[in-house]
């Protein structure tokens, strides 16, 4: 039972505020905002705050706080999923989700909230069903001027953003031409986590993937989405972390996956085809997790050369192991250096890396004190962050995307896009050598 729902800006302004049950005392939004501000500064507290019997549950989407309050002991996952869904439905209607678009369309958001929650009980969150109850026309904000938001809000981490975003158009807005463009977007988004040892041996690896869909097709045609034929699901327990045995074979093995409720799995076991009638708006068709070893996109070697007692040189080699027609961008490489480092000078900074190339970063460090013999203990690990469009680490492919045809001339645009992002890309140990000088 939800008591209130509100959206706060980063400064704590109310953008929308809806009280469903009138049981939470006044000032809840302020209490929440103070708590969260305080909480961000001091990480000692991690549970969502409970103040005077009021539970505050929030998600942060596009820099905004989506918050619900409740007096009862409800399922936190239910509320968090609901908040994410409200954010997503709102985005479906407004095209772009940010403070500006919400402020311009707050009356429409109130309309949505009226239907999504009644007396604190979640009702429908289907973009399509809601259409018949929404009477406001969305007021579009200029999407070009704004930083584009990712196809999934979950990729919004700070200022990092996804390239190649799905179009930012509302599901209800009529376009200037009057006719809606028939198109469908399928994004395969993979977050990868890899840990390497110093010798380049993979210690742990995991892929968290999502097949995201955004449909602008009219008349709800049925869609068939075919995945790799040799895809297999579920790994026996004994081999679940045996990385050596599974590499080499070409099959994609998912540890586990889950599906959107519109997906029919009738033929999935036979030919790995998902059948679904996509609901309007954006949604995850399928989430999957892979711990099978895969070919990592980058090989990184880190070396510290000690050049005398108070100087050292860091050598970072990054080799892109993907094909040359793919370019990785938004790359950052982090390497903590000893705390007594006074000065560091760099020779090269990489911004984007083209496939099959190698880059070297050289940094000269000067220390304020003599190192205690083992610099490598004080430095590292190296952490890398990147986004590689049109590349997927798991080799999971959409073989084809078939749309049930209404007529011969009906040929909607189909976009299938891949992107791989680093979630945690760590090179643990750093090699050490002593430079003779």
């Amino acid at each position: 039972m939800i008591s209130q729902f509100f959206v706060l800006s980063q400064r704590g302004d109310h953008i929308v505020f809806r009280d469903y049950r009138g049981e939470v005392p006044k000032g809840s939004a302020e209490i929440f905002f103070r708590k969260v501000k305080f909480w961000n500064d001091d990480e000692a507290e991690e549970a969502p705050p409970n103040v005077d019997g009021v539970n505050y549950i929030h998600v942060k989407v596009a820099g905004l706080f989506f918050v619900v309050t409740t007096m009862v002991n409800v399922s936190p996952s239910l509320l968090l999923e609901l908040l994410q869904r409200i954010a997503r439905v709102t985005k479906d209607y407004l095209g772009v989700l940010n403070e500006d678009s919400l402020r311009k369309n707050f009356i429409l958001v109130y309309e949505l909230l009226d239907e999504v929650i009644d007396f604190g009980y979640p009702q429908t969150t289907s973009t399509e069903v809601l259409k018949s109850y929404i009477f406001n026309e969305p007021i579009m904000v200029d999407a070009g001027r704004l930083p584009p938001l990712g196809p999934a809000a979950m990729f919004m981490q700070g200022t990092k953003r996804m390239p190649g975003t799905a179009v930012t158009k509302s599901v209800v807005a009529t376009e200037p031409g009057g006719k809606k463009r028939e198109e469908i977007f399928v994004d395969i988004i993979e977050k990868i986590s890899v840990t390497f040892s110093s010798s380049g041996y993979i210690l742990t690896s995991e892929i968290d993937g999502t097949i995201q869909m955004k449909s602008y097709l009219s008349g709800n045609p049925e869609i068939r989405l075919a995945l790799n034929e040799d895809l297999s699901i579920g790994r026996t327990r004994s081999s679940s972390h045996d990385y050596r045995s599974s590499s080499g074979s070409g099959t994609v093995i998912l540890d586990d996956c889950n599906f959107h409720e519109s997906v029919h799995l009738d033929s999935f076991d036979i030919d790995r085809t998902l059948t679904l009638i996509p609901p309007d708006g954006e949604f995850a068709v399928m989430n999957y997790r892979i711990t099978q070893e895969f070919k990592p996109p980058f090989r990184v070697t880190a070396l510290i050369e000690e050049a005398g007692p108070s100087r050292a040189e860091v050598l970072l080699k990054i080799r892109a192991e993907f094909s040359a027609n793919v370019t990785a961008n938004t790359i950052t490489v982090q390497m903590p250096v000893p705390s007594y480092t006074m000065r560091a000078s760099f020779e090269l900074e990489a911004g984007a890396i083209v496939g099959a190339s190698e880059h070297t970063l050289r940094a000269k460090l000067t220390f304020s004190q003599e190192s205690h013999g083992n610099i490598t203990k004080e430095a590292g690990p190296v952490n890398m962050n990147f986004t590689i469009p049109m590349y997927n680490a798991s080799k999971l492919q959409v073989r084809y995307l078939q749309i049930a045809k209404k007529s011969k001339t009906y040929n909607p645009y189909r976009w299938v896009r891949y992107v791989t992002q680093a979630n945690s890309y760590i090179i643990k140990d750093i090699q050490n050598s002593i430079k003779e000088c």
């Binding site: 990480e43 000692a44 969502p48 239910l78 311009k104 009226d114 009477f135 026309e137 968290d208 889950n258």
Partner: protein, 845 residues
């Protein structure tokens, strides 16, 4: 929607308006628009309304404009209508008289052609929350529940719950719950069904406090026909409604294993749902259904592992955290089932620190012989982490694993390596751990001390680390060559050391050292005591004074006090009791899991829904809380009568009186009764109560009992050879619950009832009376045909030992499942025989 009127133009974008002048301005404009028939009046109205709502959102008090808003409310524009309803709903309570003006057009809209308008009006009508308008609600609600449009029925169902909150009597008198129930079991629209269920649960839960009929109605919600009806339709429901139905199913008491497997097969594919809330709700059903089947329960753990890990990887950090908290709970319950998945709990670079903290705890829990090496290696990596709090946690985790006794040898080496890292906080944390390790494994002292002795106390800034080092210096001063001199230098720097904790430790350490190496320490001891005595901190001062006088009195006594022979600590106290953990597990898929405390610790009583367990004993039984309350209360009633009647047995009267008082303290949260208080109850206290009992007024007993909050046990007497039961045992619910949580299962058996007995078990009371005549008391009961659940207790005659029984009776099969726990495990077998014979006699007399 460009504003056409000049008045509206100046606020085309609804920015944050400011204060009173704005409201006055809005009122003015509304008044002008009220009667306006201008062609653009609708557009203007829209804009002004929008500004009003914008003010409302920003928290500005716009209630002053209520009258004007109502005047403008007659409009055919749906968007304006909605804004008006939103406004009226928020402010009607403050203006009940003016709200009456809105009733008219709302009622008219409730009869509109368009179902959307009808629904909208009905929802707004019910949201007014004005008590004196109740009479206008009942008719539209009753019609609404029968509306041809599912949308309207759906709103009407929730509307009934709203009405109940405004006026419970109006809702009950109109017989709305009955209509809701009928609708729930017949409506073709899944959302209508779900809303009926929401409303019924809310109404009946609140109503149950005063009405037994409502309590029975709640039970019917958990009955097989309702649960199976809803479960069979599960795929028709929206994902949110699915969660509701699953929650209901998790409280269902299946009558046999086939039902359990039917439900699990039906819900198997729910574990593949992309919505984490659905998956967690399904897991709850699986876990709770299989509680009594150990093997299957374990298989459930295996089955749910993969979906949970997938959910952790998908979704926002907030969602992952919620799922991870649940995973954490399961890992803590059954660490060995997760020991091969340890790599899944390795911290990732991008994990927020609250996630890392949970993962560290899980890694600590699942460490066993086979994976300790890998886990500790990983944890040691984190110790060098730039994130200092996590580095600290990692070091602590290594220490905890060492205390779990796996591969201590290697871990001690690792810990000692930490000391070589030469980072202040690492050294400090490690010292604390080494200290704890030495308390458990004194045999390692030799290795540790060699390394610890090399640490300069000057390099340690943190009081905790410094205190740990000082403790070791004192404790092992005979093995550490420099100990007296290090201590001496610390004493010399007394003034620079501000932490009372360090000073206290220093006092004790110097004392210890003195008794081991007197000539070397004597000077330091004098200086320490002098410094301590002149200290302004009360504790430091007092301890110095205490040592000083102790030494003055008799140095031998002082040595016995300061340096007694110590036993190695075998187990460090767990911070959370097993019972607490069980209760959190009962509340799986709720905030309890995230907060890591049971719901009664953070929710008000009035806000505990039908699914919440209350803090009193009734939570041991499933569902049907209210009947149990009633029964328990009745039982106490009887005891009270006993108290009035029995005048012969005075000592019994004394204890009886204190038991009688527990009717008043019955609902006190059990955590108020600190378990330490109870366990520390000394014979002296018992005898105190017993002696007061017969002589003083019962009033004093009441207050004493309130203070202690416990059932008083009788003084031990020589026990008779054959097991006979105390005819009037006394055990209060709090103690029962605590005992039930603490004691191990002594016996678990299945036995049969006589067919007559099974047939005559129409309600719990009949069996309770029968067992009472056999000196077996019931403390709580619940359930409905064919399943009943009872908690009984009995006491060995003349002894303090209690027997606790959980008894689940199935009248259809005439079988009963017994779980017996006993203070005195040796007598459990005899008691079981006695209990079974009593049970088999039921219905035959």
């Amino acid at each position: 929607m460009a504003p056409t009127a000049p008045t509206a133009a100046k606020s085309a974008s609804p920015s944050q308006p400011s204060g009173k002048s704005e409201v006055a301005d809005l009122k003015q404009q509304l008044r002008q628009l009220a009667g306006s028939r201008a062609p653009d009046a609708d557009d203007q109205r829209r804009d002004v309304f929008k500004r009003v709502i914008s003010c409302m959102t920003a928290g500005i008090d716009v209630s002053a404009a209520f009258g004007e808003m109502v005047l403008c409310s007659a409009t055919s524009d749906v968007v304006t209508k909605k804004m008006c309803y939103l406004y009226v709903g928020a402010h009607a309570r403050a203006h009940p008289d003016l709200a009456l003006l809105t009733i008219n057009f709302l009622q008219r809209d409730c009869r509109d052609q368009d179902p959307t308008i009808r629904g909208l009006a009905l929802r707004s009508l019910c949201s007014l929350r004005v008590p004196n308008l109740v009479e206008y609600l009942v008719t539209p609600l009753t019609t609404g529940l029968k509306d041809p449009s599912a949308y309207v029925r759906m709103i009407a169902a929730v509307g009934a719950a709203k009405l109940y909150h405004i006026s419970a009597t109006a809702c009950i008198d109109a017989d709305l719950p009955a209509s809701l129930k009928a609708l729930m079991l017949s409506d073709p629209d899944a959302q209508v069904v779900a809303n009926c269920l929401h409303a019924l649960q809310e109404i009946w839960t609140l109503e149950a406090a005063s009405s037994e009929a409502a309590a029975r109605e709640i039970e019917t919600l958990y009955s097989k026909p309702v649960v199976f009806y809803l479960l069979n339709k599960i795929k028709e429901f929206s994902e949110w409604a699915q969660c509701l139905v699953l929650e209901l199913a998790s409280k269902f008491l299946p009558s046999d294993n086939n039902e359990i497997f039917d439900i699990m097969n039906l819900l198997e594919d729910r574990l593949q749902h992309a919505n984490g809330a659905v998956v967690l709700a399904t897991i709850k059903v699986f876990l709770h259904l299989t509680m009594s089947m150990t093997d299957v329960h374990q298989q459930v753990y295996e089955r749910i592992k993969a979906p949970l890990l997938t959910l952790v990887g998908a979704g926002s950090p907030e969602q992952s955290y919620s799922v991870l908290c649940h995973l954490h709970l399961l890992v803590m319950r059954a660490p060995m089932l997760f020991s091969s998945d340890y790599k899944s709990f390795y911290c990732q670079f991008s994990d927020p620190s609250y996630v890392k903290k949970l993962k560290l705890e899980m890694l600590t829990a699942i460490a066993n012989e086979s994976n300790t090496y890998e886990i500790v290696t990983e944890l040691c990596e984190y110790a060098g982490n730039v994130d200092v709090p996590i580095a600290r946690e990692s070091i602590r985790a290594v220490g905890k694993i060492a205390l779990q006794q796996y591969d201590v040898n290697a871990i001690v080496d690792r810990l000692l390596q930490f000391l070589e890292m030469d980072k202040d906080f690492v050294t400090a944390e490690t010292l604390v751990l080494v200290k704890d390790l030495l308390r458990k494994y004194p045999q390692w002292s030799h290795d540790c001390i060699a390394v610890v002795g090399n640490i300069s106390s000057k390099n340690i800034q943190e009081p905790k680390g410094k205190a740990a080092l000082i403790w070791m210096l004192g404790e092992y001063s005979q093995d550490m060559h420099d100990a007296p001199y290090i201590l001496e230098s610390l004493v010399e720097n007394w003034d620079e050391e501000h932490s009372p904790e360090v000073r206290l430790h220093l006092l004790t350490a110097v004392m210890k050292c003195f008794f081991k190496r007197p000539p070397e320490t004597q000077k330091a001891l004098g200086a320490t005591l002098a410094a301590g005595l002149s200290n302004t901190h009360q504790d430091v001062h007092d301890r110095a004074l205490f040592y000083y006088r102790l030494l003055q009195y008799d140095p031998n006594v002082a040595e016995r006090v300061v340096n007694p022979p110590k036993q190695a600590v075998s187990v460090f106290a767990d911070t959370q009791s097993g019972e607490m953990k069980d209760r959190i597990f009962d509340e799986f898929n709720s905030l309890s899991v995230v907060y890591q405390k049971p719901s009664y610790m953070f929710t008000d009583k009035e806000h505990r829904g039908p699914f919440e367990y209350s803090e009193d004993l009734t939570n041991l039984t499933v569902g049907a809380e209210t009947t149990e309350n009633v029964i328990s209360a009745q039982r106490y009633q009887e005891n009270d009568n006993d108290l009035l009647l029995s005048t012969s047995d005075k000592e019994d009267n004394g204890t009886r009186a204190s038991n009688g008082s527990s009717t008043s303290t019955y609902n006190a949260p059990s955590d108020l009764i600190g378990s330490s208080l109870i366990s520390s109850q000394t014979p002296a206290e018992t005898s105190l109560i017993n002696t007061i009992g017969p002589t003083s007024s019962s009033q004093s007993n009441f207050s004493l009992d309130d203070l202690l909050g416990l059932g008083v046990t009788e003084s031990p007497a020589p026990s008779p050879p054959v097991l006979s039961l105390n005819s009037k045992p006394v055990l209060d619910p709090g103690t029962f619950q605590r005992k039930w949580g603490q004691l191990a299962l002594a016996l678990s058996q299945e036995c049969s009832l006589s067919p007559q007995g099974a047939a005559s078990l129409m309600n719990p009371q009949s069996l309770i009376r029968h067992m009472q005549s056999n000196y077996i008391q019931c403390i709580a009961s619940g359930g409905q045909p064919p399943n009943y659940k009872f908690f009984f207790y009995a006491q060995k005659d003349g002894a303090t030992a209690f027997f606790l029984v959980e008894c689940i009776v199935n009248t259809a099969s005439a079988k009963a499942q017994l779980k017996i726990k006993a203070d005195d495990g040796t007598a459990a077998e005899a008691f079981s025989t006695l209990f079974q014979s009593a049970l088999s006699q039921f219905g035959l007399s």
